[in-house]
Amino acid sequence: MPESKQNFLRIDNLTKHFGEFVAVQELSLEINDGEFICFLGPSGCGKTTLLRAIAGLDPQSSGSITQAGKDISNLPPSQRDFGIVFQSYALFPNLTVFQNVAYGLENQKIPKPEIREQVNDLLELVGMPEQTGKYPAQLSGGQQQRVALARALATSPGLLLLDEPLSALDARVRATLRLEIRSLHERLGVTTILVTHDQEEALSMADRIVVMNEGRIEQVGTPEEIYSAPASPFVADFIGVMNFLQGEITNSGKVLIGENKLDCETANIPEGSKVRVTVRPEDILCSAEDKNAANSFSVKVESVEFLGSFCRLILSAPDGFGKLMTDLSTQQVHELNVTPETTLTAVFPARSLKVFPESL
């Protein structure tokens, strides 16, 4: 059997249904060795179901999973090679930190002194060297999740599965642990799958993101690709903030929105089709004077929301555009002296516009 380093985990046509409900539908995916992958999507999109199928905790209804060249589709969890961390930590409450981390090693019949050494190393690795004698209930959420991470890594698994590990933690702890998990991954090189509904988490941690919706993959790509070149309106809407404009293709390269025409890349969409044009808030360029550039329109500021380093403006644009969101740095807001009712010129650069057929 050919085992390429490039292809550590392969999922083929995986389907999982719970009764009538189809949680994952004919999904195929390849994950490379040493990659950090995020399954990202709204709740109920099937991302956790997929993770649990990979772990064997909720076996798939059909389809196959291959790990390191071996078909693991029918194996029970105990015969697969993975470590798992849950959102609820799931530490054994009656065992100390040390005993929790040692738990998996003891199952392997490793001599005691060796276990002690390894557990201490692991706790050092996750930044918890001093707390070996405490019980989980005596630790904070962040500390518990560190111990859970050490426990999952103790048996040196080939695959690390993280099921929303940071969702129960508060924002500051989440940000620190995000960095630490990422750097842990870089040091250990273990192939990692993280399930999350938090796009910021996915964008900052993943090598590649798998965006899922209603049991299917919407897009697989690097965070950069997912953000700047969304493959579908769903991805465009789910990742970051996005403005949507309803329009119709007139002649090639032009989209009619209300009574105005926008220059943009329309690819192969036939003339006359209904389309949606997307533009990121930060891609709309606002200035005080009329620039007479392509795609420039006069807009009126409706409201200004102060968000620290930048302000979010709600603009009312010409007919057909509806309400638009744009971000200006706080400094720019002061320079342009923006208040509600101010009239600005907004430019929509053609390269920042993306056109999707309405049917998608």
Partner: protein, 257 residues
């Protein structure tokens, strides 16, 4: 404004003194009224009868006050010690036997994929409404002097400690089972999954996850079985024969032979 103005300066609390009082809401009043009603009911139904009972214990047959003389006499009867040991040992053995059996049963119902679980659960829980003497009577039918299965006791008599313990176990089993089912089914499924992912053998999962998780359920089941059996009158009365326990003793003291 008018309310603050009307408060004289002297009643304004000193700085730092914790004298803020939250006004009582309508719910608070309802709760307090409820509490008073319940306390009066308890006083009428429990405290007063207890008082009349205990005050009688300080009098002789003709109603003259004799102090603790009755108690003195009672505690000097050698039969009392036997009754106490009998009661304690019956309750203790019943608690141990029922705990083991009910735990195995509850484990099978909650943590296995055994077929007909719903049926077995129903069958085991239905007798929860039966009075204790029913268990004793049924044992007499099976193992009594005329019983069909009398020979199964190898010559021992059902009228005595064996019968009391057997009937008590049968009677309290549903109570124990109900608590243990709850204790076992509220276990965190993630703990089992974590243990399984760490390639833990089944027996170790049982000792490190199942048992510690059901700890409080097991403890309270033990206490409940113990108190139910030690306070029960029906079973020892029906099947106890000459085997005296505290509950039957009380009956004899009050009602007579």
């Amino acid at each position: 404004m008018s309310t603050t103005d009307s408060i004289p300066a002297s009643t304004v609390p000193a700085r730092g003194a914790s004298s803020i009082r939250i006004k009582l809401s309508r719910d608070d009043y309802a709760l307090r009224t409820g509490l008073v009603v319940v306390i009066s009911l308890l006083a009428i139904l429990v405290v007063l009868p207890l008082y009349s009972l205990l005050s009688k214990s300080l009098e002789d047959m003709d109603g003259n006050f004799v102090g603790l003389q009755n108690f003195q006499e009672y505690f000097q009867t050698p039969a009392l010690l036997t009754s106490i040991t009998n009661s304690l040992s019956v309750a203790f053995f019943s608690a141990i036997i029922v705990l083991v059996l009910a735990f195995i049963y509850a484990y099978a119902l909650t943590r296995t994929k055994m077929p007909f679980r719903l049926f077995f659960r129903g069958v085991a829980l239905i007798p929860i409404l039966a009075p204790s003497l029913l268990a004793a009577i049924s044992l007499i039918y099976w193992f009594g002097t005329q019983g069909v299965l009398k020979s199964w006791l190898f010559g021992a008599s059902i009228y005595g400690p064996i019968g009391v313990i057997m009937a008590s176990c049968f009677w309290v089993f549903p109570h124990a089972l109900m608590i243990l089912i709850t204790a076992l089914s509220t276990a965190d499924a993630r703990l089992y999954e974590a243990a399984e992912a760490l390639r833990t053998p089944k027996w170790r999962i049982f000792w490190t996850v199942t048992l510690p998780g059901a700890k409080y359920g097991i403890l309270s089941t033990g206490f409940i079985v113990f108190t139910l059996v030690i306070t029960d009158f029906g079973v020892p009365k029906v099947i106890g024969g000459n085997f005296n326990v505290l509950a039957t003793d009380v009956y004899k003291q009050v009602v007579g032979q």
